[in-house]
């Protein structure tokens, strides 16, 4: 999150999820109100910008779309670091893609804690008759991990606008809360580490003196 000179708030959002769940379609629907017209391949994560106004505040979203194929998930940390929000997309007709969402939640919580706003999106509700991910299961899971859950259809343009709008609101709230509690937090250098648990004991002696 950075604040540009003109008073615009910049938020970074990352779209994550299994291949073929419709990440790019959601993004194109939101940004250009088109479904599948651009036919973008997402081998390389690309981003698109959207400007909006919330509560009189000017906001610029840069939304990063990532490669969905499982092989690319190992590159995840590059894409979600410094993100303010993540949209975890699954396909309601594909229970495995929902399993992947759970993996992403675990990973993001571990790496970024509560610094990031999580949204879970069950996409392709136009295929409701083929649904295999039970409604209640998805919603109660989202609840449990503190993420909002949305049903979307990029094809029929359902739920997309709301999803992004609510995400932005939440990011803004979080940002405002943070800037109140930590008015003078400045430069941040974040080093993250995979498996080793946080070891605070080694420097407990230095905590205060």
């Amino acid at each position: 999150m950075t604040t540009a000179p003109g008073g615009t708030n910049n938020f970074k959002v990352v779209l994550l999820g299994e291949g073929c769940v419709g990440k790019t379609s959601l993004l194109l629907r939101y940004i250009e109100d088109k479904f599948n017209d651009k036919h973008l391949t997402t081998l390389q994560a690309t981003f698109l910008n959207k400007r909006l106004n919330i509560k009189g505040k000017r906001i610029n979203l840069s939304i990063w779309d990532t490669a969905g194929q499982e092989k690319f998930h190992a590159l995840g940390p590059i894409y979600y670091r410094n993100s303010n929000g993540a949209i975890l997309v699954y396909d309601i007709t594909d229970e495995d893609s929902f399993g992947k969402v759970k993996n992403w939640v675990k990973e993001l919580k571990k790496m970024l804690g509560s610094d990031i706003v999580l949204i879970i999106a069950g996409n392709k509700v136009d295929l409701e008759h083929e649904r295999t991910v039970p409604l209640e299961e998805a919603e109660s899971y989202a609840n449990m991990v503190g993420a909002k859950h949305y049903y979307t259809s990029a094809k029929l343009n359902q739920g997309v606008e709301e999803l992004f709008l609510d995400l932005t609101r939440e990011m803004l709230e979080k940002y405002e809360q943070n800037s109140q509690t930590e008015v003078n937090r400045t430069s941040q250098v974040l080093v993250v580490d995979d498996e080793t648990p946080v070891q605070s004991s080694c420097c407990s002696g230095t905590k205060s003196n």
Binding site: T2, E18, G19, C20, T24, F35, N36, D37, K38, H39, L40, T41, L43, Q44, A45, T46, F47, S62, A67, G68, Q69, E70, K71, F72, H73, A74, L75, G76, P77, I78, R81, N82, D96, G99, K100, N103, T132, K155, N184, R185, T186, S187, Q188, V189, L190, V191, V192, D193, D194, T196, V198, Q199, S200, C202, C203, G205, T206, K207, S208, N209
Partner: protein, 479 residues
């Protein structure tokens, strides 16, 4: 759903996808949704490579250039007729750097890749692989989705289930069986897509096979689990930046911009959709001749030519947009000039012994026999994904994190060494002198080398990255 039902569902899906490609566009009248085809209000302009532009062509090929190419064609026709001769060997390098005439690309690429040889050594193989692919390929879904997206602004691929779309689907499905270690990996649709602009289906299949397994290109290591070759080439790329363009490297690090964010397509698909297509073809010409070194040198050349412009961009998004989008639309330099610089870069890197990160280690080369069918396990047949990262993927992930960690540390060290208030710093550890009155919060410990501290003084909290030596010094200083 039980396992049997899942298996049945997966095979039904595969069958359904295959059927549509087999029938092709002409037999699918009324069955293709309008949204499956890209909207182009009309054919505005189609360039000489077949790409349809939604606006007037940015630049027409100048008439004198066309004349030069006609003259070159004559020479090339002669040369192609005497391919395996010392004269050709002698002229080839110079002529290819000048650019292969577009009408002769198909012959020349096939000769450079020795497509005919491998094709004749493996009669009937392609058809066999395709048949097996139809029965067993577990990558059909992803391939279908990517064929639906690849080069849709090109006349060959514009229409859903067009002849070339079907060919692209077939080549990728057959290859996913042929090379069971790779299967299908995103990016390969770009490679095969370009090859199919110039070759027929079977030739494109073998050309793809050579690009992956021939040591000159060794793209296998890019597409297997964990992308070991990507890691190795990126490290080398960083090394080149550090040596030749340290300010630019610093600029990237300042905005947390990892090379992965801008260079993935450079390495994976040899600059497809990252530079204008005419230039991309020129780079491919040279890549097919000289192999892996060309990618490294071109990556360096792009950044060298655009260093000034990039240094003016003070935001990660702007930089990425410039390198990924702007340079694809308009590279800003004539193709010939870029190739001139590319050749110079190759020489420059060679002198510095940085032209090549070395031959592929065994783990980047195919371990299993190519073309031998391996039945996929149940999990992948159903389309189930792994629950956890494999060891190789964990390694890659750790590597990705480490790259950022290193960059951040270097940056921090640089900041400390350039600090105006260097006299205020305790020179032995790089922390402010009044640290003793400050609170140090350790955030995370890395097994490798660095720690992060927030140093809370009376004024502002500052984060520090410190290496292990420093940590022990601080600890020893405690009362």
């Amino acid at each position: 759903m039980n396992e049997e039902a899942l298996l049945a569902r997966a095979s039904e899906e595969r069958e359904r996808i295959f059927q549509r490609y087999e029938r092709g566009r002409d037999n699918l009248v009324g069955q293709i949704d309008p949204w499956e085809d890209p909207e182009f209000e009309e054919y505005h302009k189609t360039d000489r490579y077949g790409f349809i532009h939604d606006e007037r062509l940015p630049q027409r090929t100048a008439p004198q250039k066309v004349n030069i190419e006609v003259e070159r064609e004559k020479k090339w026709v002669k040369m192609l007729a005497h391919w395996d001769t010392p004269e050709t060997k002698q002229k080839l390098h110079r002529r290819i750097y000048k650019g292969i005439p577009n009408s002769l690309r198909i012959n020349t690429w096939c000769k450079l890749l020795q497509v005919n040889r491998i094709k004749f050594e493996n009669p009937g193989k392609y058809q066999d692989m395709l048949k097996l692919g139809k029965l067993w390929s577990t990558d059909v879904r992803q391939i279908d989705s990517d064929v639906n997206r690849q080069f849709r602004e090109h006349q060959f691929y514009r229409e859903r289930y067009s002849e070339k779309q079907c060919a692209l689907f077939n080549v990728l499905c057959a290859y996913s069986i042929y090379n069971s270690e790779v299967g299908y990996c995103q990016g390969m649709s770009g490679l095969a897509g370009v090859l199919l602009m110039y070759m027929d289906e079977e030739d494109a299949f073998w050309a793809l096979a050579i690009l992956l397994s021939d040591k000159r290109y060794a793209m296998h290591g890019l597409f297997i689990e964990g992308f070991p070759k990507l890691t190795r080439f990126l490290e080398h790329h960083d090394k080149i930046l550090t040596k030749f363009m340290p300010k630019l490297k610093h600029h990237f690090d300042k905005f947390g911009l990892d090379a992965i964010l801008y260079s993935l397509k450079w390495f994976f698909v040899c600059f497809v959709e990252r530079v204008p297509f005419s230039l991309c073809l020129r780079v491919w010409d040279i890549y097919l001749l000289d192999g892996e070194r060309v990618i490294t040198a071109m990556a360096y050349t792009i950044l060298k030519l655009h260093k000034k412009a990039i240094m003016k961009l003070n935001d990660m998004d702007l930089i990425v947009n410039y390198i990924q989008v702007k340079l694809h639309k308009d590279f800003g330099y004539d193709d010939d000039i870029v190739i001139y610089h590319l050749e110079k870069s190759m020489e420059e890197l060679r002198r510095a012994k940085l032209d090549y990160p070395g031959p592929p280690p065994p783990n980047e080369l195919p371990q299993r026999m190519l073309g031998v069918f391996v039945e996929p396990d149940k999990k992948s047949k159903i389309g189930q994904r792994a629950e956890n990262f494999s060891e190789t993927e964990k390694q890659t992930r750790a590597n990705v994190i480490l790259r950022r960690e290193k960059a951040a540390l270097e940056l921090q060290e640089l900041r400390v060494s350039q600090s105006d208030t260097v006299s205020d710093l305790n020179p032995s550890i790089g922390l402010p002198l009044h640290t003793s009155q400050a609170t140090l919060d350790i955030h995370l410990e890395s097994p490798i080398f660095s720690y992060v501290f927030t140093c809370r003084t009376d004024t502002q909290p500052v984060n520090y990255l410190l290496n292990k030596k420093v940590i022990s010094k601080i600890k020893n200083r405690q009362p």
